[in-house]
């Protein structure tokens, strides 16, 4: 009897103790970036996380860095884009963080608002090229004038087109990429050329892609789908004429067979293979998929512009990665040494070789223009680059169960534009409200 009661008490005690334990988590310590010699002559290993989508470009710079000296060695861990936020948050929670993260710029703010990244302002201000850094990307790492990261590689959504098909269909690259009427006309003309040739292509079942290449149409019209400041944001879907017209453009192209059937299920695994085969007129995507992965012959007959709005205007997604140093990083000094190296003109100039765009406007040197002509447009029109500042980007756009892809598919493939807009508005508002908690 006595024994039994004591056992129960003991078990209860263990239960209570284990329940209490989790509440004693504390903030990870912030590295002192103003310490003398910070970021110079560091030693040891740097654990770098990068997102899987940009692993090729990251490896390229890391290999160059590791080859350039012996004291610091960078180890790359690719993390799937869809899991990135979760994995980084759990790592921070667990106190076992990487030394530096290559993070999708639109997700940076989520961690900055939760005090998880080191304030790098003094280091960024010291850079002699600070004023030439991609302003859109730097903005996504900046809160209250403090910089919690530095842009590293840019990944802009652009509209690539097949000049040969344009010529055969008697189209003008400037005229027919200026607004939606022009795009539709071009798509129809190219679709009519021959069997197996299409005006347009998009991977319609890949959430990240739809956020990346469809939204700039709205921004070009100055009509974003999220409005308000962080903490008080709501969706702007229903009643947003640009959203409606963008969905309708896609709907028209889908019903008229101007896009390949495979667009319905395309999940990004073979994104743009049809364009690179020369069977597509217009292909909204990025430098990596449209140009780098293509054959030199195909590249020679490819042109590029920024994405137009319904009635003109141009925009591009200020996408790409920022480098941030999580609080609690064990080797922050060496991490910054790597970041500094990655921003050098030599590395930046060469980024298109790995599929990405530099983040420094002065990287567009003569050699660069000569070597990567299809990667020049985003640097020249850097002021047209935009990306929303929100804590919920991942939820609204990048997850496969996000409302943006749901609304797009409902409007384009099911033909229910009104329903898609109404549902999208509700879902955006709900998620933005939940994200304020």
């Amino acid at each position: 009897m006595e024994l039994h009661r004591r056992t129960l008490l003991a078990l209860g005690g263990i239960a209570g103790l284990s329940a209490l334990l989790p509440s004693c988590a504390s903030q990870l310590p912030e590295p002192d970036v103003t310490a003398a010699g910070f970021g110079q002559n560091a030693t040891g290993t740097v654990r770098l996380w990068c997102r899987a989508a940009t692993v090729v470009a990251v490896r390229q710079v890391v290999d160059a860095f590791n080859a350039s000296q012996d004291a610091v060695s960078v180890e790359v861990t690719p993390v799937l884009d869809g899991q990135y936020v979760t994995k980084l948050a759990t790592a921070i929670r667990g106190g076992n963080v990487p030394d530096i993260v290559d993070i999708d710029d639109i997700n940076s703010m989520l961690f900055i608002y939760r005090d998880s990244f080191t304030d790098l302002t003094p280091l960024v201000e010291q850079l002699d090229f600070a004023d030439r850094l991609n302003p859109g990307q730097l903005g996504l790492a900046t809160r209250d004038q403090r910089h919690y990261g530095v842009p590293y590689i840019a990944d802009n959504s652009l509209l690539y087109y097949n000049t040969e098909l344009f010529e055969r269909a008697g189209l003008d690259p400037v005229e027919h990429t200026r607004d939606f009427d022009g795009l539709l006309e071009a798509a129809r003309a190219i679709g009519a050329l021959e069997e197996g040739t299409y005006g347009w292509t998009i991977d319609g079942n890949a959430a990240g892609i739809l956020g990346f290449v469809v939204q700039p149409h709205l921004w070009a019209a100055d009509a974003p789908n999220i409005v308000g400041e962080v903490g008080d944001q709501r969706g702007a879907i229903e009643g947003n004429d640009a959203v409606r017209r963008t969905f309708e453009l896609y709907r028209t192209m889908w019903t008229e067979g101007l896009m390949p059937q495979s667009n319905f299920s395309g999940d990004g695994a073979r994104w743009g293979a049809d364009f690179r085969d020369g069977r597509i007129g217009l292909f909204p995507s990025n430098f990596s998929l449209a140009a780098l992965s293509a054959t030199p012959e195909m590249r020679a007959k490819t042109g590029v512009v920024l994405l137009p709005g319904p009635d003109g205007g141009r925009s591009t997604f200020a996408g790409g990665d920022n480098l941030c140093i999580p609080r609690g990083a064990a080797n922050a000094s060496a991490a910054w040494q790597f970041a500094r190296f990655a921003l050098d003109l030599t590395q930046q100039e060469n980024l298109p070789a790995g599929g990405y765009i530099p983040v420094r406007s002065d990287a567009a040197t003569a050699r660069y223009r000569q070597e990567f002509p299809l990667a020049v447009a985003p640097l020249e029109e850097i002021e047209n680059a935009y990306a929303p500042t929100t804590l919920a980007y991942n939820l609204l756009f990048n997850q496969q169960n996000s409302p943006w892809i749901a609304a797009f598919r409902r409007a384009v493939f099911d033909g229910d534009v009104d329903g898609a807009l109404a549902q999208g508005q509700k879902d955006f508002d709900r998620i933005l409200e939940q994200a304020q908690l």
Partner: protein
């Protein structure tokens, strides 16, 4: 109903001997030809339905990725075999071997720990009378009804605070908990079926509690232990949600997490050849262990149901 669990005086494969000895409904002399034909027809048809897809997957793992993703594939291509998927899988680039190792460590650890703790508890619950025994046994069984999927959130925080996230030991402890109730259940049944005289005679000989447990009872407990160990192994070998939640460090990834990376192209372009080869690697230990130990496993599950 009593047959599977009734006291038997012989040793090890008791459950099976009992079954083999009895005749089951329909197996009597009145059996007619139609019935036999139906049996073979149904059996063979079902065998094809269950085995063909798996056999096809094994073939798939020896096809090149180009053949796997080709629309309207050429039949010749589908039967041109290569081991490139496996060699790529185990190359240092993908290093799936490491996650196979992690999965093995975790699954074996879970199997051993589950079997040991379930045996001890089964002995306690099955052979000892102590106050609160039924309540405590009830507590263990009721945890069977608490889905770990539902408490994954607090569990994550708690394991995190205990330093058990990003840890193979943490996964082992977690999987052991998930598999314990079933193991305790099976082991209690096993102990209850052992006649008291056998144990008592060992005691009269002067054997202590532990020694009597080990030497006298072991042969009778092997089926139950094998059942709970195998059950725990299979359940943890490719468990997904827990591994996804509790592991962040890719060096500790178990096999299913590596497969997600392969599926989503974490290392560049998606290669279905690698994916199918990885899945086949995941199948191998399950099938081998199951075929080797299935007598125990099936009998254990079946007896659990009868007692249920």
């Amino acid at each position: 109903m009593a047959s599977l669990t009734s006291p038997a005086t012989q040793g090890t494969p008791r459950l099976l001997k009992v079954r083999r000895g009895r005749e089951t409904p329909g197996a009597g002399r009145a059996e007619n030809r139609t019935k036999l034909t139906l049996y073979w027809l149904g059996g063979i048809l079902a065998t094809l339905v269950f085995l063909l897809p798996l056999a096809w997957s094994v073939l798939r793992s020896f096809q090149a990725n180009e053949a796997i993703v080709a629309s309207d594939p050429d039949v010749g291509d589908l039967f041109t075999f290569t081991t490139e998927n496996f060699s790529a899988l185990f190359s240092s680039d993908l290093d799936v071997l490491r996650s196979v190792g992690n999965s093995l460590v975790v699954a074996i650890g879970t199997a051993v720990l589950t079997a040991v703790i379930a045996t001890l508890a089964g002995y306690g619950f099955g052979r000892f009378a102590f106050r609160g025994r039924n309540v405590l046994f009830g507590v263990v069984v009721v945890t069977m009804m608490v889905p770990f999927q539902a408490i994954i959130t607090p569990l994550y925080l708690q394991m995190n605070a205990m330093g058990l996230t990003d840890s193979r030991l943490g996964l082992v402890l977690f999987y052991t908990t998930v598999n314990l109730p079933f193991g305790v259940f099976v082991m209690r049944n096993a102990f209850e079926t052992i006649p008291a005289e056998i144990e008592d005679s060992a005691r009269v000989d002067g054997a202590g509690t532990m020694r009597s447990l080990v030497s006298v009872l072991r042969p009778m407990l092997v089926p139950g232990m094998a059942t709970s160990a195998l059950y725990a192994f299979l359940a943890s070998w490719t468990e997904f949600l827990g591994a996804l939640t509790f592991l962040t460090d890719d060096r500790l990834y178990t096999l299913p997490l590596s497969l997600v990376n392969l599926q989503s192209g974490a290392y560049g372009a998606v290669n279905y050849g690698y994916l199918v080869a990885g899945a086949v690697v995941a199948m191998i230990p399950c099938v081998i262990l199951y075929v080797a130990l299935q007598r125990f496993y099936v009998a254990g599950l079946a007896s659990g149901a009868v007692k249920g």
